[in-house]
Assembly symmetry: C2
Homo-oligomer: 216 residues x 2
């Protein structure tokens, strides 16, 4: 099988190569035709968790995107963050598809139902997901006491997520779009599906699905 | 490779089995893991082309959907029409995913750009696609002199489509969502891409993509 390379931009400056490559590996596992080259933005060890950290990240995301296209190896680029930071900016500069995890998972949810719930981490539903979901966004939840994506990597953070997800179904949603790619890092979607009794859509996998479609 | 069966409902009462199965074959070709069982609604040889014919079709679509689920063989159902007729009704009755070609292609377009154009046949953009695209719908076009999906099956109809597609790019769209599955029947998307200079998304293939994701 000839694999097609895509670029993936992590918006957390992970030093650990294995952690940096987790989203890429998840995509490769689900879409074996894709080979993912993962790169992290510089100087943001805590990632994006509010407007300020998002604004800081955008020039670095654009820089990585330009670098990917200049090298000419990848056929599409994924920005692995549910807020789609830098996606609009990069689309203006690049000729290859630029897929944002947030827009991808919101869109995928709309293929399943017109009643969508989101599960965020700190800031609720990112603006780009609200824009796409519009009046189809019927429920939102986020765990108490979680500040950054790193807090999800321990047992306490995970339990907090599991205990808040039920309210989304109670509020009328028929499908849940994960509104943070930190959830992909801990691959919590299957467990959440059982707990919530609804399909739970992973933002990184949704981005991989779109990238796979557009490179075909 | 173990194939997964999905059901596909055609909203035109084709007598010719080969034509009836065209959308299913297209999906099988692009997603080899899927095996598509195609069925046509009864009594509508001209298909759905206005509100009246849509209203007529819905009970028949629901009947076919219930039949698919009762037989227990398929893991998802596609309604192969860009107006998503019967999708809402069937989702209330069935436990397997029900994918509409219109919502699927509109959603897929949003993973690529926030500036989407649609290419309809007779009635412009179906309501369900307008609902999903919202303010991201920036351009619409439809060919002159085409009344039903059958008119696309001759050379004159095809030429009329090709000559109207350029205006979509001129009006600012960055991607085109085909707003009628009649375009899938004539597999015109690649030719339209060349003419329009933009990615052109086929509604049947978009529905296949979503179905494939949800049966995994």
């Amino acid at each position: 099988m000839t694999k097609t390379k895509i670029g993936l931009i992590r918006v957390v400056s992970f030093k650990d190569r294995k952690i940096a490559e987790l989203h890429g590996k998840l995509i490769e596992h689900h879409y074996p035709i894709l080979q993912v080259i993962s790169r992290c933005i510089k100087d943001q060890p805590k990632g994006i968790y509010n407007d300020e950290t998002e604004a800081l990240a955008i020039p670095n995301i654009v820089e990585l995107g330009l670098e990917f296209e200049k090298e000419g190896e990848v056929k599409a680029i994924i920005i692995s963050c549910a807020a789609d930071p830098g996606v609009k900016e990069l689309r203006k500069k690049l000729s290859i598809p630029v897929i944002g995890a947030g827009s991808a998972v919101a869109a995928l949810a709309l293929t399943y139902s017109d009643k969508v719930g989101t599960l965020g981490i700190t800031e609720g539903t990112p603006q780009i997901m609200e824009d796409i979901l519009g009046r189809h966004l019927v429920a939102e939840a986020k765990p108490d006491g979680v500040q950054t994506t790193l807090d999800l990597m321990n047992e306490q953070g995970k339990n907090r997520v599991l205990s808040c997800v039920k309210s989304i179904k109670e509020n009328g949603a028929k499908v849940i779009a994960l509104a943070c790619t930190g959830y992909s890092t801990i691959a919590i979607a299957p467990e959440l599906e059982k707990r919530a009794g609804l399909p739970v859509l992973d933002a990184v996998l949704a981005a991989g699905l779109a990238a796979w479609y557009f490179i075909k």
